[in-house]
Amino acid sequence: MGKVEEIIAAIDKMAEGKLPPHLTVDSKDFVGKLTESTNHLIDTLSNLYQQARPLAEGDLSQPITAQGDIAGIFKTIQANLRHMAWQLSRVRVADDFSQWIVGMGELGQEFNQMVHALKEAKEELEETREQLVRSERLAAIGQLAGGVGHELRNPLGAIKNAIYYVKGKVAKSELGRKEPRVMEFLDIMDDEVNTSNKIINDLLGFSRVGKPSVSPTRIDKVIEDALSRTPIPENIELTKKLDADLPEVDIDPDQIQQVWVNIIMNAVQAMPKGGKLTIGAKRRGKLLEVEISDTGCGIPQEAVDKIFDSLFTTKAKGIGLGLAVCKAIIDRHEGNIEVESKVGKGTTFIIKLSLKAE
């Protein structure tokens, strides 16, 4: 093959994007010069290829020293990629999600979206961590309060017994007749013992809101258990409207009992001068619906929305934990709890629980 054909073959090869080997320079004439220039071209392309290869392998550290517009493009690409790597390291090291890539078309957009997603993930993680700390704190408070609360119930029990005895004696005595305040104050003592017990109950509620351990349960039995545990004063008329054949429902009986106890205690507190307490349970399609109503002082509209927030209370004394615990327990059972109330008329709590899928 003649030298010129060799040259043409080499150039054709480069035109296909491949690198041919060097050509031998055989003469010093025009063809020889053409051969030298072709070799020069091969060298330039080879050099560009070598300098650009690290970029292809993700190595941004090798300097591009080749000259010319084409090398310039590779330099720009390298600079862009270095910028992107630097932005990423800022995100990684300094948590800095604020500086985004400007320009760089589709690549830049993808980069920015990734940084944005990272920022949102980080915020969600922080919120979750705060929630965890909060719930751990609550659990720790619950445990501590639990121990203390249980201990307190023993002396409260003895005090309540003693009040009962003394009231009985004083009522039949001349002292009771002559000094009405004596009986009145004994009643106060009994009421405050009940209030103390309720506060303990609310506190203990927090130690209860763990994962429910569910089993098929008869809701009427849980309601009866709750009633046996909550002292209901004589001046409150209790009506139970429990449907005859209520199906069993998958609940944690201890936790749900806590819910009834809390609501009943609140109802009793809302009716210091007596009233009506009605507890109803019925099946409504796929739901079990329990309603607990009182004819007490009612809850103003502004307070109704906040009533399930922990620590929210309109009472001057007492801590508003009880209803927050109720909501937490019902939520964990994937049920629903709502309240309807009218100031001066009364309040109704409506709790809905899913029945077992048949």
């Binding site: 003895a158 017994n161 005895y165 009985g168 017990n197 109950n201």
Partner: protein, 124 residues
């Protein structure tokens, strides 16, 4: 049969004195003890119609005591007492034959009514 004779078992002195005192005032013969061991000794000596048994006590707890007592005197009616709202121990005792469980602080009127109901049952 006169009013049921009653044994009160509780490690808290004020609980023993007040519960026992009120029941005595109601006309019952009462014996009060502060732990399970003494309770078992008393049951060996006398038949009690009703026993009020605190659950959490030093030494053997109320449920263990209940089991021993039932072996000695199966006819005795045992009422468990506790400050703890829900307890596995309570459930076990009730499933093994304890009459019921009452929760401190309890309503003495209801407790007296409970004892009367038990006395009526025994007559029948």
């Amino acid at each position: 049969m006169g009013k049921p004779n009653i044994l009160v078992v509780d490690d808290l002195r004020s609980m023993r004195l007040t519960l026992g005192g009120i029941l005595e005032d109601e006309g019952h013969n009462i014996v009060i003890v502060e732990d399970g061991y003494l309770a078992i000794e008393e049951v060996r000596k006398t038949h009690f119609d009703v026993i009020f048994m605190d659950i959490k006590m030093p030494g053997i707890n109320g449920v263990q005591t209940f089991r021993e007592v039932k072996k000695i005197d199966p006819k005795t009616v045992v009422i468990m007492m506790t400050a703890y709202p829900v307890e596995d121990l309570v459930k076990r005792a009730v499933s093994e034959g304890a009459y019921t469980c009452i929760y401190k602080p309890f309503d003495m009127e209801k407790v007296i009514a409970l004892v009367e109901a038990i006395a009526k049952e025994k007559k029948e």
